[in-house]
Symmetry: C4
Amino acid sequence: MEKILIKQYKKPKLNKTVLIGGLPGIGNVGKIAADYLIEKLKMQKLAEVFSQYLPPQVFISEEGVTYLVRNSVYYKKFQGRPDLLILVGDFQGTTQEGQYEMSYSLLEMLREFDLARVYTLGGYSTGRMVETPRVLGAVTDPGMIDDLRGSGVVFPKGEPGGGIVGSAGILLGLAKELFDIDGACLMGETSGYFADPRGAMEVLKVIISILGFKVDLRDIEERSKQMEQLTGKVQEDIQNKAQKKEDLGYFG
Amino acid sequence: MEKILIKQYKKPKLNKTVLIGGLPGIGNVGKIAADYLIEKLKMQKLAEVFSQYLPPQVFISEEGVTYLVRNSVYYKKFQGRPDLLILVGDFQGTTQEGQYEMSYSLLEMLREFDLARVYTLGGYSTGRMVETPRVLGAVTDPGMIDDLRGSGVVFPKGEPGGGIVGSAGILLGLAKELFDIDGACLMGETSGYFADPRGAMEVLKVIISILGFKVDLRDIEERSKQMEQLTGKVQEDIQNKAQKKEDLGYFG
Amino acid sequence: MEKILIKQYKKPKLNKTVLIGGLPGIGNVGKIAADYLIEKLKMQKLAEVFSQYLPPQVFISEEGVTYLVRNSVYYKKFQGRPDLLILVGDFQGTTQEGQYEMSYSLLEMLREFDLARVYTLGGYSTGRMVETPRVLGAVTDPGMIDDLRGSGVVFPKGEPGGGIVGSAGILLGLAKELFDIDGACLMGETSGYFADPRGAMEVLKVIISILGFKVDLRDIEERSKQMEQLTGKVQEDIQNKAQKKEDLGYFG
Amino acid sequence: MEKILIKQYKKPKLNKTVLIGGLPGIGNVGKIAADYLIEKLKMQKLAEVFSQYLPPQVFISEEGVTYLVRNSVYYKKFQGRPDLLILVGDFQGTTQEGQYEMSYSLLEMLREFDLARVYTLGGYSTGRMVETPRVLGAVTDPGMIDDLRGSGVVFPKGEPGGGIVGSAGILLGLAKELFDIDGACLMGETSGYFADPRGAMEVLKVIISILGFKVDLRDIEERSKQMEQLTGKVQEDIQNKAQKKEDLGYFG
């Protein structure tokens, strides 16, 4: 068996293509944002990737139907604007070798679609609740920084300290070094404790601004609000309990 | 050395063949059921699979004779009914790569035997003793659900939650996606704490009903009863001790 | 780099050759016995094996000279008796794949030397000090049992329970299944807590009896005695301390 | 994707070339020394090595620019003296296979530059602060010992006990066994608790003496002093606290 098996369904003619990478990761920020774009832009499936770098696992739908875990690439052609490819999936490659091989073979496959730029979407873990998540950036070419700043991306010195590990980093690194394609990573702040639509929404705003699409954000705004109510309530409960304890302690 | 080494002993002409996968797993339910079928149907050995994806280990018989760990495939031809292949073995592939490679090369080898359907047998861990184990199902094709329901399989929503990991899942997934062969996983409920003939018996009833074989179940029924007496006694002991403690506590 | 790199130094013409495998393992019993044979029989180096399945490590001699870790094969021709090959080394292959590949490529290389039989030497861990270590056996061919019994090997039912894991097992298993060469594993009882010349000496007595060599065992007997005095003293100390504690406790 | 991908930028004609290996390791002694040489000798980049044996990671500069992790080789031609190659990098290969493959493919690439000798630089962990770090040596050829002693290297018996694990060891071992190139490992003593310029400076003195370069050591001397003041202060604090506790205990 080939280590990576690509089933390609379409052969569209794309131009100046932008690839967006949104695999699962911190707070699932990148995945939520990418899945949302695919749905709202009504994108079409270009290819599916099966691989022994993914867990040997099938998911089961509500109806009881199995689904072999995979990565998928969707595409959409635009008029007078770069065409779009989006990478989503159930898992990142689970080993170091898998991370390199899956990103490399994806770029290798997509290069024929006039791939011109790569944006990877991810989360930046703050370890605490964030009122207004920032979107941090990292670029392969310093010349991109000003444009991204104009779209609301921040570049704080020394953040993220450890660099970017995993698909969001290696996809950029390989695109730059081995395919001579520039790109950026956009990281939405998130507590990192749960799948976070709020961080994903901020990343969506940025990528929409960069690429100039029109995407209806009302649904993810709604999901963010529900999530915030939920987590807000949990926080309140925790604070109430802490307060109570303190009160009791005061009299104890 | 090839990573997977198949010694094929026979070249039977099989038709509309059904493959049953029963490698070791949760409660060894699938393995017990598959071994039982091979014995009762007096099946013949088709091939043996040695591989570096299995532990570097020999077992030793009571007499002191070594046995290199392996997977084996047995077959039986039927009149007026699909022919049968059964996969059994000492271990599943021990790595993610091994899981994919061993399932893939098996399907690759068996495709020439007119492989038409795959059933994988497994256990579904409940974490507690089960009076009457259900058999849960998952299918690659929604069209199979009604038939399986007719044979006693249940499809409860959201179970199993994490999907199916390992041979029972990946064999189905690869058969569907890469060989275009449909199939189902049949999971007998089991506590998961020991090798469980009771869960295996329920799975056997279902697969016999689906395939229309005649198989004498008295031996496995006997083993199930012995096991239940044993575990029942253990449970009783535990409850007695708990009761005693409580009694003492009451007076303490 | 090839995963296994063999430097072959000699091309002797050997007949009905017996291979003895003595890589490091439980109590280093096999390694001590094999190294002893090579020294006392004044065997010659046939080949060295370097491999990425061994640790990326050099040892350093007392004089400060590095030594890349390896496996080595020694040989000796005999008159009117099978010729001899012995495998020794610094490590076993450190991964499952490495275990299979290193044993396989060794057999592949040695098959041209008219390889006819394989004996692997190892330790059988008892978890406690043993006055008179037995030598347990396991064979690939039941027909070998009687002969080995005649040389002092025992075949107790159900021992070793978990089979044989590692080089001593896989070498036999692959020789049997893939090269059609029979063999046996000889396991000297050992506490398993330290490198054990006593268990190795018992294994030596057996293999000498099987193969009919003359080997002077006085040196290893001496080392065994020294070891026994040392461990005997340690045990005595422990018992004395335990006794003291008891005594004190008695008056405390 | 090839497992190791070398981008070679220059094709200089080098003679009797000496390779210095300084990848990250204990106290980063080797890396600090090697980076220092490259800077002070104004060496030029020969090649960069990307590999799936390195973490799937990009670093991010202060400005927000990504940098795919790599190993790099620098070179410099000299008059009337052996030419020089230095290996530096962000990580060593992260697996056993990676250690062998990366060292092997480096030697394979560099052999065409008339590679004649290899020195690997590393740290030797003492587990405590060292006033005057020694530089321990290990050689592939006993004939090198006297010369190295003359440059201040010591060869204490039985040190380092466990041999040399990782790049500093395997590079020497493979150079010797597979490329017939001799070399030595130079290990600067270091506590092992932090990146240690002091140990690196001692290694630099030795390698400068061996190779006869002129290198200005004032910068690393300055860094060493700063580090010593810092760690000295930390030690003082610890001792003061310990003293206080003792004093208190005295009155307690």
